[in-house]
C-alpha cells in the first residue's frame, strides 16, 4: 500500500534520506553545490526525470515554546528526491549508470558505490521514505510528452502567425508540409 502512495498517474515520487558520515558534511555540501546546473546537470542525462533535488539537512527546525521536546540530529542527512516517469528501479539503474551518483552519496554511511548495480539499488531502496500523499497537476504526462507538447505549441504559434490570410488550398498545403509526417 505504501508503495502505491508514491504514484500518481504515470509519475512516481522517490524520497531518499541517508545519514552522512561524521565530519564529511561540508564536503558533501561542497560536492552538491559544485554540480553543474540546468542542462549541464548530470541529472539532465536521465530521460524520464521531471524534477529532482539534492540537499543536506543538518538540523531540525525548532518550532518554539509550543514544541515540548527539542530533537537534535546526531548526523547530517542527505535528502535526494526525484519525480520520475514509470518504474523506479529502471530509473535507479539509469541514475547509477549515467548520472554519477557517487558525487553526492559517497559521503553517506554505508553507501556501497555505484559499481555494483544491486548493492546500489538496495542502498537507495533501504533509505527510501514512502510518500503519504503525492499529487500533480499533470500526473499522466511523461517528460518526453511534455517536451514534445511544448515544442509543438511553439511550432503551431509560428505557423498560425505565418498562415494568416492564406487561401484554403494554400493553407492546407503548407499545413501538411509543416506537420504531416
Amino acid at each position: 500500500m505504501a508503495e502505491r502512495a508514491n504514484r500518481i498517474g504515470g509519475a512516481y515520487s522517490l524520497t531518499v534520506i541517508a545519514p552522512i558520515v561524521a565530519g564529511r558534511e561540508q564536503a558533501a555540501r561542497d560536492a552538491i553545490d559544485a554540480l553543474p546546473v540546468g542542462q549541464d546537470s548530470p541529472l539532465a542525462r536521465l530521460d524520464g526525470l521531471h524534477f529532482s533535488r539534492i540537499h543536506v539537512v543538518s538540523e531540525l527546525v525548532f518550532q518554539g515554546p509550543q514544541q515540548r521536546w527539542r530533537d537534535r540530529l546526531q548526523a547530517s542527512h542527505l535528502v535526494f528526491t526525484s519525480t520520475i516517469d514509470g518504474d523506479p528501479d529502471r530509473y535507479l539503474e539509469a541514475l547509477r549508470s549515467r548520472a554519477e551518483p557517487d558525487t553526492w552519496w559517497r559521503f553517506c554511511v554505508g553507501y556501497p558505490g555505484s559499481a555494483d548495480s544491486e548493492a546500489f539499488r538496495r542502498f537507495v531502496r533501504e533509505h527510501q521514505i514512502d510518500s503519504s500523499l503525492f499529487a500533480s497537476a499533470h500526473a499522466k504526462a511523461t517528460v518526453p510528452g511534455v517536451l514534445a507538447s511544448l515544442t509543438l505549441r511553439e511550432r503551431i504559434i509560428d505557423f498560425a502567425i505565418a498562415a494568416r490570410g492564406l487561401e484554403p488550398a494554400e493553407l492546407q498545403r503548407r499545413f501538411r508540409d509543416e506537420f504531416a509526417e
Partner: protein, 179 residues
C-alpha cells in the same frame, strides 16, 4: 539558491507532528488519495506541478521524539506570491495538514504563514527540472494543444481545402487560450 531554476521553485520542509495528530494525519492522507476533492483543492491554482507529503517515522541513527512531516512542492515560483491564495482559499486543508503541528499559525491571515514557511524552508543544494521555463499552465495547455492537434493532422489528409480551413479555424478557437 539550490531550490530555484528557471521559473521553478522547490519548497521543502521537515516539521514535527504532534503525537496525537499522527493517527488523524495518516487517515487523512489515505483518504485524500481516494478523495479527489482534496487533491483538486490543492492543485486548483494551476501553479503546482508536483507536491508530496511523507510521514517520517524515523531516520537511521537518530532517536527522535517526534514523527516528522516531509513536504516537497515543485511550483512556479516564488512561493511568497501564492501564499495569500493558499491562506485564504484552501485554509482548511492547510490547517488539517499542519494545524496540529507545534506553533503552526493556522491561516488566514497569510503573513504568519509566510513567516512560518520561511522559518522551515530547507534551502541550498542542487535543483533540476526538465522544463524549467514552462509554467504549470503552459504544460497543461501544451498537452491539450497536442492532444487536440492530432485529429486535425489526420483531417488535413482527407478534407477538401474549404472544410479543412474551417476545421483549422475551429481548432485555433478551441486552443487559443493556450497559445
Amino acid at each position: 539558491m539550490g531550490n530555484r531554476i528557471g521559473r521553478m521553485t522547490g519548497l521543502t520542509m521537515l516539521t514535527p507532528i504532534r503525537p496525537r495528530w499522527l493517527r488523524f494525519l495518516r487517515i487523512g492522507f489515505f483518504g485524500a488519495r481516494y478523495f479527489p476533492l482534496a487533491q483538486r483543492a490543492i492543485l486548483q491554482f494551476d501553479f503546482i506541478h508536483y507536491v508530496r507529503w511523507a510521514i517520517v517515522d524515523g531516520l537511521p541513527g537518530e532517536r527522535l521524539r517526534y514523527r516528522y512531516l516531509f513536504f516537497e512542492s515543485n511550483f512556479d515560483g516564488p512561493w511568497q506570491h501564492y501564499i495569500d491564495a493558499f491562506a485564504y482559499v484552501v485554509a482548511k486543508w492547510i490547517r488539517l495538514t499542519w494545524g496540529r503541528g507545534p506553533s503552526f499559525p493556522g491561516p488566514p491571515p497569510a503573513e504568519p504563514l509566510k513567516e512560518w514557511i520561511a522559518m522551515n524552508s530547507l534551502d541550498g543544494g542542487h535543483y533540476y527540472c526538465a522544463y524549467p521555463l514552462a509554467s504549470t499552465r503552459m504544460v497543461k495547455g501544451a498537452l491539450e494543444v497536442r492532444e487536440r492537434f492530432e485529429p486535425l493532422v489526420a483531417q488535413s489528409a482527407t478534407l477538401e481545402p474549404a472544410a479543412f480551413a474551417a476545421a483549422y479555424e475551429r481548432y485555433l478557437v478551441q486552443v487559443q487560450r493556450h497559445l
